[in-house]
C-alpha cells in the first residue's frame, strides 16, 4: 500500500481556498527548473471540446500509451515533467510511473508527473496529487485564450474598508440627547414577553400580501437601523418637497409606529393609499402577489429618491437609495458558444433571487438500482443526499440556478467569434452578494399557452444559516476550469478584504391555500425566537413550525457587516 506522508499539514488560505504547501519533491522540482516547464506545457494543453476538460497531448490526435507496457486503456496515465515519458499507474498492481521516478538523479528529477487526461500534477514519490499555482495558471490560460476577459463592472469600485471605532457621547452630545429624546421604559416589565418592534397589522381588505412583506421589512436589520436612526426624516423631506408622494416617508411613519411600544394593531392605511398611487395597476381590493408588492415597493422608494437627488440608476452598488443599498446585488451571466468556446459575459443588478422549484424531485433515483438507495444515508450526509432522497432544498434550487444550462436550438445565441448564431451554454453566478438576500420561490405558474395558472405546493426545505460561497462567480469559475488555484474574477489576494458569504435567516413569508384564495403569513426570528405574524395576531411559535411551513419568500441577512469609508460626511 502507498505510504502516507504527512506533508500537507501547513496550508495557507487565499480567497477562502486552502492552498496546500508543496511536497519536498515538488519544491525541489521548482528550485531546479523554475516555472519554465509549467509554461512550456501550455503547448500540450488541449481543451476538447470547447469548454471541456484540459488534457495533455503532444499533438491533438495523440493516443497516449505507457512507455513500458504499451497499455493505452489505463485510466491513469502520467507524463513525466522532466522527460515527457508516459507511464501507467495502477496501484497496487503495478506502477510504471513510480519505477520511472526512481530514475531521479542529481541532474534531473523524474518525480513530478502530470495526469494526461486530467491535467493535474502528481508526485510519484509521495504517491499523491500535488498543486502548483503556476501550473494552474497555465491551465487556465489555455482555457481562456478564446475568452475575451470582460472588464469588471466599473461601478464595483472597492471602497476602502475601515475598522470599527467605538463611540461614546461627549457632554454636548449628551445634553442634546437628554433634551430631545425621552427614555424608553424597560422591556422586561410592561410589555409582556414580546420584544420591541412586534406589532400586528390590520388587514384592510385582502392586504395580507402587504402586511406579510412589511413585517419582514420592519425587521430587516439594515433597513430598520436606517429608518430608526432618522436617516430619512419625513418632516424634513415633506417640507423640502411639499406634500408629495414619498413611499420612504410613509415607511418612516410606519417604523415609528411599529417601534414606539404600542401593542395595539396598526392600520397601514396611508401607506396603502400611497402605494396604490405609485402602482395604480395593482390598486384594488383583490389579493395581490406578495413578491410583486415587494418589488414594486423597492422600486417606489428608489424612484422618489432618484427624482429628488438625481442619483444614477441602480448599478448594483447601492449608492442610489436605501432600498438598493440593502437588497441589490450583481448577477453574472456567461454564455459560451458550443462551437468555438467563445464566452460572452454580462453583469446585471438584481434585488432578489427568483428560484424555480426542481421538477419532480426523486424521479431519477427511482429508476436507479436499489444498491444506490441503500447506500444513501439521508441524515448524515447533509443536503446533497437529501436531494437524492426526494426533498427539495433551497440549496438545491440555488444549484439549479447556477448550473450550466444548454440553450436549445430555438434559442441560438449570436457568437461574436463565429459570426453566426450557435447553440450555447449559459451559466449564472453571483458577482456581488447583497446585504440582505431575498429568495423568492416561483410557486405561481402562469402558462400563457394554456391560459391557466397553478400553484406549486411542494415543500421546500430551507436552512437557518446559509453559506453562499459556492454560488459566487469566483467559485463557479474556479470549478469550471477544474478547481484550479487561480485568482478568478478579480479576487483580492488579501483574505482580510474577503467579504463574508455567510447569511442568517430572519424572516419567512409563507403562503397557504390556493392560487386565488390564499393567505400570507410571516415568521420573524428575533433573538433566536420565532414569532408568527398573521395580520393583527402575533404569537410566539416553535422553530419546527417554521421549518414545516411552505416558504414563499425567505430573507437572509449577512452575518458580518463591514464599515466602508464614506465618500462624503453625513450622507442620507
Amino acid at each position: 500500500m502507498s505510504s502516507k506522508i504527512n506533508h500537507h499539514h501547513q496550508n495557507d488560505k487565499t480567497n477562502g481556498q486552502i492552498f496546500p504547501q508543496p511536497c519536498p519533491h515538488l519544491a525541489d522540482f521548482h528550485a531546479r527548473n523554475g516555472t519554465k516547464p509549467f509554461r512550456a506545457i501550455q503547448d500540450c494543453l488541449h481543451i476538447k471540446p470547447p469548454g471541456g476538460r484540459a488534457a495533455i497531448r503532444r499533438d491533438s490526435s495523440e493516443v497516449p500509451r505507457c512507455g513500458v507496457c504499451g497499455d493505452s486503456s489505463c485510466p491513469r496515465l502520467y507524463a513525466c515533467m522532466a522527460c515527457a515519458a508516459v507511464s501507467c499507474h495502477v496501484p497496487p498492481h503495478s506502477s510504471h510511473v513510480a519505477i520511472h521516478a526512481t530514475k531521479t538523479s542529481s541532474a534531473c528529477s523524474h518525480e513530478i508527473a502530470v495526469d494526461v487526461d486530467r491535467a493535474e500534477l502528481f508526485c510519484c514519490a509521495c504517491r499523491d496529487q500535488v498543486y502548483d499555482r503556476d501550473f494552474d495558471a497555465a491551465v487556465v490560460l489555455a482555457h481562456t485564450t478564446s475568452i475575451i476577459q470582460s472588464s469588471k463592472p466599473e461601478n464595483l469600485r472597492k471602497r476602502r474598508r475601515i475598522d470599527y471605532r467605538p463611540w461614546s457621547p461627549d457632554l454636548r452630545e449628551r445634553s442634546l440627547m437628554v433634551n430631545n429624546a425621552s427614555p424608553i421604559d424597560s422591556m422586561s416589565s410592561s410589555n409582556g414577553d414580546l420584544p420591541r418592534g412586534l406589532r400586528g397589522l390590520n388587514n384592510l381588505g385582502n392586504t395580507c400580501f402587504m402586511n406579510s412583506v412589511l413585517q419582514a421589512l420592519f425587521h430587516t436589520p439594515p433597513l430598520r437601523n436606517y429608518f430608526l436612526s432618522d436617516r430619512h426624516n419625513r418632516y424634513y423631506c415633506q417640507s423640502k418637497n411639499g406634500v408629495r408622494l414619498c413611499l420612504a416617508c410613509d415607511l418612516d411613519t410606519m417604523f415609528s409606529a411599529i417601534f414606539c411600544g404600542d401593542r395595539m394593531p396598526y392600520s397601514p392605511a396611508k401607506f396603502l393609499y400611497s402605494w396604490w398611487r405609485h402602482a395604480s395597476n395593482l390598486a384594488s381590493y383583490e389579493q395581490q402577489d406578495a413578491h410583486e408588492f415587494f418589488i414594486s415597493m423597492l422600486d417606489g422608494i428608489h424612484e422618489k429618491v432618484e427624482k429628488d437627488q438625481h442619483k444614477p440608476r441602480s448599478q448594483g452598488n447601492g449608492d442610489c437609495c436605501i432600498a438598493h443599498r440593502v437588497f441589490s446585488g450583481i448577477l453574472r451571466s456567461d454564455v459560451m458558444c458550443m462551437a468555438c468556446g467563445f464566452t460572452s459575459t454580462t453583469f446585471d443588478p438584481c434585488v432578489d433571487f427568483s428560484l424555480d422549484l426542481e421538477p419532480n424531485q426523486g424521479s431519477s433515483m427511482k429508476t436507479s438500482s436499489t444498491k444506490t438507495n441503500h447506500s444513501c444515508n439521508c441524515e448524515a450526509d447533509g443536503m446533497n443526499s437529501s436531494q437524492n432522497c426526494g426533498i427539495s432544498t433551497l440549496m438545491g434550487c440555488l444549484d439549479r440556478f447556477t448550473r450550466p444550462e444548454r440553450l436549445g436550438s430555438d434559442q441560438k445565441f449570436f457568437c461574436q467569434q463565429c459570426q453566426v448564431r450557435q447553440e450555447s451554454l449559459k451559466q449564472m453566478s453571483i458577482r456581488k452578494l447583497p446585504l440582505v438576500s431575498c429568495f423568492h420561490i416561483k410557486r405561481f405558474e402562469h402558462s400563457s399557452v394554456r391560459k391557466m395558472s397553478r400553484k406549486v405546493d411542494r415543500y421546500l426545505q430551507f436552512p437557518l444559516s446559509l453559506d453562499m460561497a459556492p454560488y459566487l462567480s469566483s467559485s463557479i469559475l474556479r470549478s469550471r476550469f477544474g478547481n484550479r488555484f487561480f485568482p478568478f474574477d478579480g479576487d483580492e489576494s488579501n483574505t482580510l478584504n474577503e467579504p463574508s458569504s455567510e447569511f442568517e435567516l430572519f424572516a419567512v413569508v409563507t403562503h397557504t391555500g390556493k392560487l386565488d384564495a390564499g393567505h400570507y403569513v410571516t415568521y420573524l426570528r428575533l433573538s433566536n425566537k420565532w414569532y408568527k405574524c398573521d395580520d393583527a395576531w402575533i404569537t410566539e411559535v416553535n422553530e419546527n413550525t417554521v421549518r414545516a411551513a411552505q416558504g414563499y419568500m425567505m430573507f437572509y441577512v449577512q452575518k458580518m457587516l463591514y464599515y466602508k469609508a464614506s465618500e462624503k460626511q453625513g450622507t442620507s
Binding site: 513500458v68 444498491k371 436531494q387
Partner: protein, 111 residues
Amino acid sequence: MSAKRSSINRPPTPDVDRDRENQEPTLQEIINIKMIESGEKERLKELLRERLIECGWRDEMKSLCRKKGRNNVTVDDLVHVITPKGRASVPDPVKAELLQRIRSFLASTAT
C-alpha cells in the same frame, strides 16, 4: 513521438524486454484506438459524467471521500477505497445506455 523541446531530456529508450511490439494489437486495443481517434471515447465519457451527476452518484462518491477525512489521505488511498463501491453503485439504466452506445458505435465502424 519526437521530443520538440530541447530544454528537457530526451525520452528514455524503450525497454528491451518489450515483446508486445512483436505481437499483433489485441481487439481491445484496436477498439480503444478507434474510439479515441474518432472522438467517440470523449463523447461517451461526457455522457457518462452527465448521467452519473444526474442520478446523484457523484455526490454520493464525494461524501464517501469526505468520510475518509482530509489529512493523511492520498489520491491512491481514495481511488483504492472508492473504486469497488463506485463500480457497484452505477445504476443499471446508465450501464445499459452506455453499452447500447458502444454497440452502435461498433456496428457503425465495422469494416
